[in-house]
Symmetry: C2
Subunit: 391 residues, 2 copies
């Protein structure tokens, strides 16, 4: 046995040395390791080694104009460029460096979020606002099953979160939240940008939310899965090609307009209730979505008013007629949680929806936050309404 162990140990060392060459955040030759980002109580320092760069800048999502506003970095010892800025308010931000005009990720930062097709370094500023955004002690399981859609004509990838304890309580059944992303997103948006697993893990661990399953589908009817899997998209008609749209049959138009929502309500819900230990009742089903997903949420509540007892459109586009609202009242909706940022470009629509719900006498929560059409709001909304579900 000793001989094996010694051989094995030698190999470990050799392999470690080899792999070290692959790790950009490894310090060679006794050089001080570069730390980035480095947080203090009131500041954060970013560092990047760039030997031959002429200009290095920092771009961060907390800056007044995140698209164009940048901060110059200064060349220091060993060509490590750095800048120290005031610590932004507790939240999750993304940032990158501009090296002679080209966007570069921070090689020192292991925390990365995927936003559409990009991977961006993440800055989590600790505080009350973000206390549920880091890793909890007890972790749920994240999985990616594929369901078959007859409506959309393809197998499609889902993201499913099952809560801590799911594996150890094989008789227990759980309520389900269907959580929908916005335009530009996919089935990974909520789990990456939205920190769904962390938020639910923390809320459940603290006893603030019921243990629940969360299902995050891909809301782009022409996609089987996130573009990172490189599966060709399916050509589909759309409502903006007016000439072609006018020539379609009613069924074809419905597919274009409602295909995904119909797949969600008549294919994904049954798939989940067959393959997971889900309680198959309206009182144990919630639907929530941001932006385009908020539109999907409203559409689903109109097309299938009896399916979900909890309905949460977030920063959403969409509206409803008095008859449609009456149908929801009649179906016995337990929570209607309407949320929007007060500088969101869709805020006026949220105000109007709030007025309509009030007019029609549908009890609802109208949750208005500071800020606009951004992930900081959607994390806040999830962290808020998840505590109100299934109670």
């Amino acid at each position: 046995m000793k001989k094996i162990l010694i051989l094995f140990a030698t190999c470990l060392l050799a392999v470690s040395a080899l792999h070290a060459q692959e790790l950009t955040n490894f310090a060679f030759g006794g050089q001080k390791p570069i730390i980035s980002p480095e947080l203090t109580q009131d500041s954060v320092t970013f560092r990047l080694k760039a030997d031959y760069a002429t200009v290095v800048k920092l771009s961060g999502s907390w800056l007044p104009n995140p698209w164009t506003g940048t901060i110059d970095m200064t060349r220091g010892e060993n060509n490590v460029w750095s800048v120290t800025v005031p610590l932004p308010a507790p939240e999750i931000y993304t940032y990158y460096f501009l090296v002679d005009g080209v966007a570069v990720n921070d090689p020192q930062n292991v925390l990365v979020q995927r936003d559409g097709t990009r991977y961006l370094p993440m800055l989590l500023v600790p505080g009350e606002r973000t206390e549920n955004y880091g890793e909890a002690h007890q972790h749920g399981t994240v999985s990616h099953p594929w369901y078959h859609s007859n409506i959309l004509g393809m197998d499609r990838r889902l993201t499913v979160y099952t809560p801590y304890g799911y594996e150890n309580n094989p008789k227990k059944k759980y309520p389900v939240l269907y959580l929908l992303h916005g335009a530009g997103g996919d089935e990974e948006a909520w789990i990456s940008m939205g920190r769904t697993a962390q938020i639910l893990d923390n809320l459940i661990e603290k006893g603030l939310a019921e243990p629940m399953i969360v299902v995050m589908p891909n809301g782009n009817a022409n996609q089987a899965a996130a573009r990172t899997l490189n599966i060709p998209e399916k050509p589909m008609g759309n409502r903006w090609d007016r000439e072609a749209f006018a020539k379609m049959s009613e069924a074809e138009r419905d597919l274009v307009m409602n295909g995904y929502v119909r797949s969600l309500c008549t294919e994904i819900v049954p798939f989940i209730e067959k393959n997971f230990r889900a309680i198959p009742k309206p009182a144990s089903r919630a639907i929530a979505g941001l932006s385009m997903g908020g539109g999907h949420t409203i559409s689903a509540s109109i097309l299938y008013p009896e399916l979900f007892d909890y309905i949460c459109p977030l920063s959403a586009a969409g509206s409803a007629t008095p008859e449609q609202i009456a149908a929801l009242k009649k179906a016995g909706v337990k929570l209607y949680f309407l949320a929007c940022g007060n500088t969101d470009f869709l805020f006026q629509g949220a105000e109007e929806m709030h007025a309509k719900l009030t007019e029609q006498g549908l009890d609802h929560v109208y949750f208005v936050s500071d800020g606009g059409h951004v992930w900081s709001n959607w994390r806040l909304y999830l962290n808020t309404f998840a505590q109100l579900l299934f109670k």
Copy 2:
């Protein structure tokens, strides 16, 4: 209904425009979209827009010296730098750009592999060698459950692949392959660099491999999960701190030397057989691992000779005594698949192991490939031995 749809459509357009700003591979103002990488029959062109760069180079894992060898790129129209190189042999490669000395990912490429803490753009060159590395038509499910380890004192994250059809055949039970990563890797290494899901999906779809579950644990005893989750590592003794090691009790030393392998065999295997529809028999259990994971594979086969009927050390460090080999013979091992590259720095060890197995009369497959200690070999080995399992 019409009113909803129109509102919704307007919003979709507005949101699309907003999100477009976030997508770096979106072409603005009628500029031609940049395509990178662009493959032809015999060449591949890489492109990067870099307005203010002085020197832009390409670094690729297929180049003669991937650590230091780079190829100059040339500035063209609109400051799009490009280079066209001969198409390398069919395989998966990673590459990046050096912009004035700083490594930059290709913003046009949606295919990305995670290697340790880095995300690198991926180049898949089509051909016979890689025909199972792209997406199949039928997809298995990838999940990340957490098991509790009493031995290592923490909850630990796993990657589990269940084959296509698992959800639709609720009575069917499956054999299980335990697939172990090397030093520098974690529970995501095989699924990302190793293309495990794609290889198994393709082999199973073609009827070349038995439908099986594949379990990919984290083999670093001090880690709960991949470093990208930022969970603090647990301080643990190690064998190279000789003074401290000498003072340990036998039990403490065993934990340091074999803690992970014991957790794998006595905690992970039961967890999988409880929570998945796994056949709980040696004839339905396989173990395989690369490099350090090959060492773990050999250790597991020595410590628990009756647990696995299929044993596949790949580019491995490790050896065994005549008695240990005899124990495997006695246990009735069905396949011993020993693989190594002929330029691997561990090749001599593989040769010696092959000689020992031959000497002791343990039937085995000795699979020698061209090349060294690299993922192209490990994908090839998985694609090869997976076809031999459970038959």
